[in-house]
Symmetry: C2
Subunit: 150 residues, 2 copies
DNA sequence: TAAAGTTGACATTTATAAATATCAATTTTT
DNA sequence: AAAAATTGATATTTATAAATGTCAACTTTA
């Protein structure tokens, strides 16, 4: 009678997702426009949200409403993630990538023609998946600096 | 007739600094309470601001007003700075330091008893001095990750 | 000894981000 | 064919962060 739902399976259309999160459809689109979330879109262009998407969105909400970090603040924090180091692209790709210089927006909102990321799907990328909040970035920086000194 | 002013010489009392920055005295105290700035205080407890302080405050203002990053957002960004790696404290000090876990506030607002920082003045520390805005942190992360892969 | 500074608490103003609503013209789904 | 989705633009509401003001009791400066 019950079916097991894959965390990442895109199943909820926007109206349903909005209701589950208790926010408006418009807000969901707004977060997307700001680059905070990447919902699944079939060829049809209709959005579908997974359980994992809902969790991520709730996390963003909490950061905005409880933690009082503005959307532009969140974007700046996400722009700090060193994607080149995480996906380990080539040195050339890294040096030519917009993400290296960008201070305002997360890497997955940038154009990436002609490099490692061209063939990758940002929604499924570790960078997007593993950095939905600030704690994860701090942990990452800690590991990085400990590795360095060890 | 003119005298050369040391960038870091604490000379302007709070009212003068406020007027120069075109903000209220109250706001200056607020930024301080939030941990964004550390003004000089003589034994008397009266604040004095240097030219460098004024620049730093103007930078904070721009981040809040132009860049639309909230104060709590700025604090979170500053909390990402890996001070242990910058001042190169001992491994023991690092592991016991609050700054390692802290996600909300910059290291210089934390208690640091019984470690390397006990004897240091935060206002003169590289961590405080070199990270007054987000760009500097991004640059730091870039260097760190490039070093790692090289 | 005024004038200016201090802390702390409380209150108010103002500016604006976040969220919502609506309309229009079009496309997709069921 | 109706219901629900799309983009894009425009407008409005609402919630609250940022900034300011004020009062009180006290200290420091010039």
């Amino acid at each position: 009678m019950y079916r097991i739902i894959n965390e990442n399976e895109p199943i909820y259309p926007i109206r349903v997702a909005a209701k589950m999160l208790n926010i408006s459809v418009h807000t969901l689109r707004m977060y997307e426009k700001e680059g905070l979330i990447i919902p699944f879109k079939k060829e049809s262009k209709h959005r579908l949200y997974s359980e994992a998407d809902l969790k991520r969105i709730q996390c963003i909400r909490d950061t905005i409403n409880q933690d009082k970090v503005s959307i532009d603040g969140i974007k700046r924090i996400l722009a700090l993630v060193p994607c080149w180091s995480i996906i380990k692209c080539s040195e050339d790709d890294m040096k030519n990538c917009l993400a290296l210089k960008e201070n305002l927006k997360p890497c997955w909102t940038l154009k990436h023609n002609n490099n490692t990321c061209t063939n990758r799907n940002c929604k499924e990328c570790e960078v997007y998946m593993n950095f939905s909040n600030c704690h994860q970035l701090k942990d990452f920086i800690v590991k990085l600096t400990i590795k360095e000194t060890a």
